[in-house]
Amino acid sequence: MIRKSIQSRRARETRLKIYGISSICFALIMLATLLISIGLNGYSALQQAYFKVDISVNTEKFVDDSGAPDNNKMNLFNWDGLVQSALREFFPEVKERDEKKELFAIISANAGYDLKEFVKKKALGSGSHTLSVWLHLSDDADQYLKGRLSIDIPEEDRRINNKQIAWVNSLVERDIAKLKFNKTFFTSADSREPESAGILGSVIGSALTLFVTIMFALPLAVMAAIYLEYFAKPGKITDFIEVNVNNLAAVPSIVFGLLGLSVFLSTFGLPRSAPLVGGLVLGLMTLPTIIIASRASIRSIPPSIREAALGLGASKMQAALHHVLPLATPGILTGTIIGMAQALGETAPLLMIGMVAFIIDIPTTFTSSATAMPVQIYMWSDSAERAFYERSSLAILFLVAFLISMNLLAVVLRKKFEKKW
């Protein structure tokens, strides 16, 4: 009987172990599923369907009377027509108006603009030139070539019809169209056309925002941490500050967005959608995280170091700034990196202060309209075009890779500078 009871007690232990292992496995499998499903969605955005056209351009059309290049004339020139007539040369049988429209739908609506930018960048000498240019196919043709548009569904439900498929296939057969590395994705900002949309604008927006965040939060947090550890006299005010810091760390991020909206935007009149405001809001949000980490780091420095400094006649301030702070720096940096990673992935407060606008230009200053990477991901996953989904996934992969490396850096720093006193 005793053996039986022991058996059942042991079985209970094994069961508990199995529950534990399976729940950890569940969490890890979910992490893998998440990353793999996003990876499978996103890898194809590394490539983009291009087609090659040979175009002859006469630069004399774009100079003013004195012979200097004239941008206005360049902008007014019918670039779309040039691309379209080049495309029609491949398919001389297309004559009717409707059919032509269908044909032009397989190339990007921005093809003319891209051609103009290409010619501008080339800075051609005067005279007539023949150029061979790779331009974007439309997002639907792109998705078809990647096999992401199912052609089993009836033609009228599809975004690309049989005729267009035949044209695209014929271009591919003639080696005029093919999938190439998607450079645009890394060099341009957002666009209405998926094939011209890139992440550079949002990356720069995120960088500007984070710069403001770190400049705002890090000094304040370190000063606050030193005060709370060494100078605060125990009492009601100090207790109240501590309660506030701990509580702010758990306030939902969207509430900080509301704060930014009503204080920074309506009361102070700072510009909407600006990295300055985004950075301040994220700074307020990460402030408690960095304060808590800095305090922990300062507390881990043995009191003997401070006491030795005090004993040799240093003032309290000198002991703190000259002796404790340098030793606490690695810990503070680790906390800062974690706080910055949190700020970089944050979306909700930025939605509140209008960083969710559609912005074609790459931001250059702290007050120009900008968007941030997670917001860009959100906006793309909300769009109707299938091609935006894969771009969104690819952007996620980059963001997550960057965040994971930030966190790994924090772990490595912690490991490297972890001293047992």
Partner: protein, 460 residues
């Protein structure tokens, strides 16, 4: 002459640095003159001059930079109103916006009056920038001179500098209080304006949420109704589903990691779970909307159930996955904080490890575990991106997890990202919801923190 902000700032900085060296060498000279010793290091006198010149001037610069444009806007607002006494408020604001845009060169107009005003506006701004620069630089110069005149070898600069710095440190610590106060005040006052337009009790107890206010006054159908019960219920439903996923898995993982796992497994699993915690919520939202929701829909379809494409269960389950590492790492800390002596005592009496966990460790850790769970609930309630992307917009009064529900945060985002006026009842209602959200999570947080603190005190 224009003095841009960066120019003024760098002149200020340069001036302050100048006073640093000026005071540093000056005090040595003074000491030699009086054949006296200085009470502090020369660099302390330098620091004192720097801080005296720099900090007050910097504050003036900040105030003028933030307040100045608002003041000018107010003057022009009054001016436009005086010129056209018949215009109502929003029209005056519209004209003001036009004037500002014309003066920036963002738009062009043919209206003479506006061009005139825009010119004046531009001049006013240039004047503001000029006087801002002048005041700040003069102030720094004056303060720097005063302090270097007053510095005597006998005065203890170190004490004064350190007092000054401690005050700055104190000010940065107090920012935490200010932030909380600012959150409460801003939410409270905007919400108060909302309750002026809409009955408070109808908001708290109303069973119908449909914030579609008529755009034109002659529209009959759309009378906005702001009863938050369905929104609140949706929030609680999704958080409940999330907790059903996160609590068992998080707790069991924590128990295994704290009590059974070898150090090797721990070193691998803990950082991996931390990666799960470090993934931005927008990624979970993407996963919920594009992978989890169709998945649940398929399963429901094969079982003959009708699952909404924005079902509460998809958003809740993904949110649960997001919260697993949060609960597991907090509970891991709590379980490991239980003193080893309790474990040893129990094992010594012949209990198995499982019995020790069930009978000794978990009861001892219960307050901390409850605290961890409450913090997780507060996080689930305040979570925004997952529900914005995967949950619905229409407020259904239901507890069926297969249907679409909406949450407080979804409503706040959808109310505030549209192109509505700031004084609109719709925008203001978002602040009402924000206030409710803030107090709800505040209560949970305070409760959770006090519980876990009590545990920490018990075993210290």
């Amino acid at each position: 002459m224009t003095l841009p902000l960066s120019f003024v700032f760098f002149v200020l900085l340069g001036l302050s640095v100048y006073f640093y060296y000026h005071a540093k060498s000056g005090i040595v000279r003074k000491a030699a003159l009086f054949s006296d010793r200085t009470k502090a290091l020369p660099s302390h006198y330098g620091q004192q001059s720097f801080l005296w010149a720099f900090i007050p001037s910097l504050l003036i610069l900040l105030v003028l930079t933030i307040g100045g444009p608002n003041y000018i806007d107010q003057i022009f607002y009054n001016k436009i109103q005086e010129l056209n006494p018949t215009f109502n408020e929003s029209f005056v604001s519209l004209i003001l916006a036009k004037v500002i845009n014309v003066s920036n060169g963002k738009i062009s107009t043919g209206e003479e009056n506006i061009i005139m005003l825009a010119k004046d506006y531009k001049i006013a701004f240039e004047q503001l920038h000029f006087y801002r620069g002048l005041v700040v630089i003069l102030c720094a110069a004056l303060l720097g001179m005063i302090i270097s005149y007053r510095q005597k070898p006998g005065s203890n600069a170190r004490e004064q500098v350190e007092k000054f710095i401690v005050n700055i440190f104190f000010a940065s610590a107090v920012i935490a209080i200010f932030t909380t106060v600012a959150i409460i005040l801003s939410l409270f006052f905007e919400a108060l304006r909302f309750f002026n337009l809409y009955n408070f009790f109808d908001f708290i107890f109303g069973l119908h949420w449909a914030p579609n206010v008529a755009i034109r006054t002659d529209q009959v159908a759309a009378e906005g109704s702001f009863g938050m019960i369905p929104v609140l219920l949706g929030t609680l439903l999704i958080s409940f589903i999330a907790m059903c996923v996160a609590i068992p898995i998080g707790l069991l993982s924590a128990i295994y990691l704290a009590e059974f796992a070898t150090p090797k497994i721990r070193d691998f699993v803990k950082p991996t779970l931390e990666i799960l915690a470090g993934i931005p919520t927008v990624v979970y939202g993407y996963f919920a909307a594009l992978t989890a929701a169709p998945f649940f829909r398929e399963i429901g379809f094969s079982l003959g159930l009708d699952v909404s494409s924005e079902s509460a269960i998809a958003a809740g389950a993904v949110m649960g996955i997001m919260i697993i590492p949060f609960i597991s790492s907090l509970s891991d800390d709590v379980i490991r904080a239980v003193p080893q002596s309790l474990r040893d005592g129990s094992m010594g009496l012949g209990a198995t490890k499982a019995e020790t966990i069930y009978i000794v460790i978990l009861p001892a850790a219960i307050p901390g575990l409850v605290g961890a769970v409450l913090l997780a609930v507060s996080r689930a309630i305040g979570e925004t991106m997952i529900v914005v992307m995967a949950a619905g917009l229409s407020a259904n009064l239901t507890v069926n997890p297969l249907e679409s529900v909406t949450t407080v945060t979804v409503q706040i985002v959808s109310l505030l990202t549209g192109d509505t006026e700031f004084d609109d009842i719709k925008t203001l209602s978002a602040f009402g919801l924000g206030l409710a959200l803030f107090f709800f999570t505040l209560l949970l947080n305070i409760f959770a923190l006090s519980i876990s603190r009590r545990l920490a005190e018990r075993y210290d």
